[in-house]
């Protein structure tokens, strides 16, 4: 079984063309990025408002829980029957999957920024807008990216079922393989989608480390400000 699998991957002909592995991976990535992008357009502003104002907390919790129980396969097949489009139903189902973790990440990240830090920023005369962008968002970054990580994992995994309603992506191998009793092909799809999930998850895990506030790993320093600080430090010494 695994020998056939290795042979399939080793054959360069299986990587090219409209049904090749390269195309399938790109299609899979396209659905994933599209769903995450639309999800972020909804979840990020909403999460910022809720986290910043502290209003609508119950709404987030309730929404996140209900949507966790919503079966993507059911939503997708239902929409296919109601909306005459190949792309909209699967993408909508994936967006519904992506929104709760994204929203929870943004909201929890911003709501959990240390209150004394926020108070200090306001005492320094920052406007609410400045507090949000210069204090709350940077400090919330690890949780926001953490939410994106959870959403990405779920969307990559679930994008396989898009092939059930005749779309492309890596799920194609699984469904075609099942229909043809071609277990090698099923295995190719399963392994490739797992590998893709692992790679994306690894990249985002790295990003979470990079955006950890106060570590300076991704800090955009103002050179003039840094110079002034160093000067003061030298005088004090």
């Amino acid at each position: 079984m695994f020998a056939d699998f290795a042979a399939y991957l080793a054959d360069g002909a299986n990587w090219v063309g409209p049904n090749g592995i390269t195309t399938r991976v790109l299609q899979h990535l396209y659905y994933t990025v599209l769903a995450l992008g639309i999800g972020a357009l909804i979840a990020v502003p909403a999460g910022m408002v809720i986290g910043h104002t502290g209003r609508g907390e119950g709404l987030v919790v309730g929404l996140a829980n209900t949507m966790r129980a919503l079966p993507s396969l059911g939503l997708m097949t239902l929409l296919v029957l109601l909306i005459p489009s190949t792309l909209i139903p699967p993408i909508t189902a994936l967006v519904a999957l992506a929104v709760p973790p994204l929203l929870a990440g943004v909201y929890a990240g911003i709501a959990n920024v240390d209150r004394t830090v926020v108070d200090a920023a306001r005492a320094m005369g920052m406007s609410p807008w400045q507090v949000l962008w210069r204090v709350e968002v940077p400090n919330a970054m690890p949780l926001i990216i953490g939410g994106l990580r959870g959403a990405t994992l779920q969307v990559v995994a679930t994008a396989t079922i898009a092939a059930f309603v005749n779309l492309g992506g890596l799920g194609r191998y699984i469904f075609d393989g099942l229909a043809l009793y071609d277990y090698t092909r099923v295995l190719v799809g399963a392994v490739l989608v797992t590998a893709l999930a692992l790679v994306l998850d690894g990249l985002l895990a790295l990003l979470v480390r990079l955006v950890q506030p106060g570590t300076g790993r991704l800090a955009l320093r103002d050179p003039a400000l840094q110079e002034a600080i160093d000067e003061r430090a030298a005088v004090a010494r």
């Binding site: 396969l73 699984i174 295995l187």
Partner: protein
Amino acid sequence: MDLWGIRNWSTAVQPYLVEHIYLAVIPTVVGVILAVPIGLALHGRPAARSVAVVVSSAIFTIPSLALFVVLPGLIGTQVLDPLNVIIALSLYTLALSVRNTFEALDAVPQVTREAAEAIGYSRLGRTAAVDLPLAVPVLTAGTRVVAVTNVSMVSVGAVIGIGGLGQLFTSGYQRNFPEQILTGMVLILILAIIFDRLIALLGRALTPWIRGSSMASSQRRLRRLAREIPGSASLREAADAPGGR
């Protein structure tokens, strides 16, 4: 009332509902029962703990459909064997619950632990009589999330011919019949709510000392803990877990 689901209840709905319930319940129970002792054993051993966290993240990265279709090849079951779904979901539950157990134990105040040792508890006795009961609220919150996710994930198995109410999706899609799909979705949502409430009630029954016993006050405490323990993202998630009103 002439709903499809009611008209065809005993022939086309009830069997799938029963299958769905056991496909969701068995993995949740098996996963949690295996995870708690593992979590207890590895908590306090930083090296083993980080290995467990890495392994469980890796398990959770495997997409469910991929696991459903590969398991027969790995363990020699039939492709249509419900055991594939049960084993796959048990693995996910185990992976998530081990980490949840770590966080639940992290939430036990260190002073309490030291006080228990000071009055003469052995390590094992303290774990059983002090750590575990105090970890119940976070354990329950995490288990509710896992249970609800399992109820929803079972339905993916329908694309390979197992999967309880999910079969109403595949069959409704093939027959071009939205009402059948809706019936499946509504029943899955109801099942998820029932499981969530049952586990919440169980958790409350196991922690009679939590006075006022309102979920809101326990969630407030969890949130405060989440703020105090750095890097406890999933504790925060637990604090925001189902059922909070």
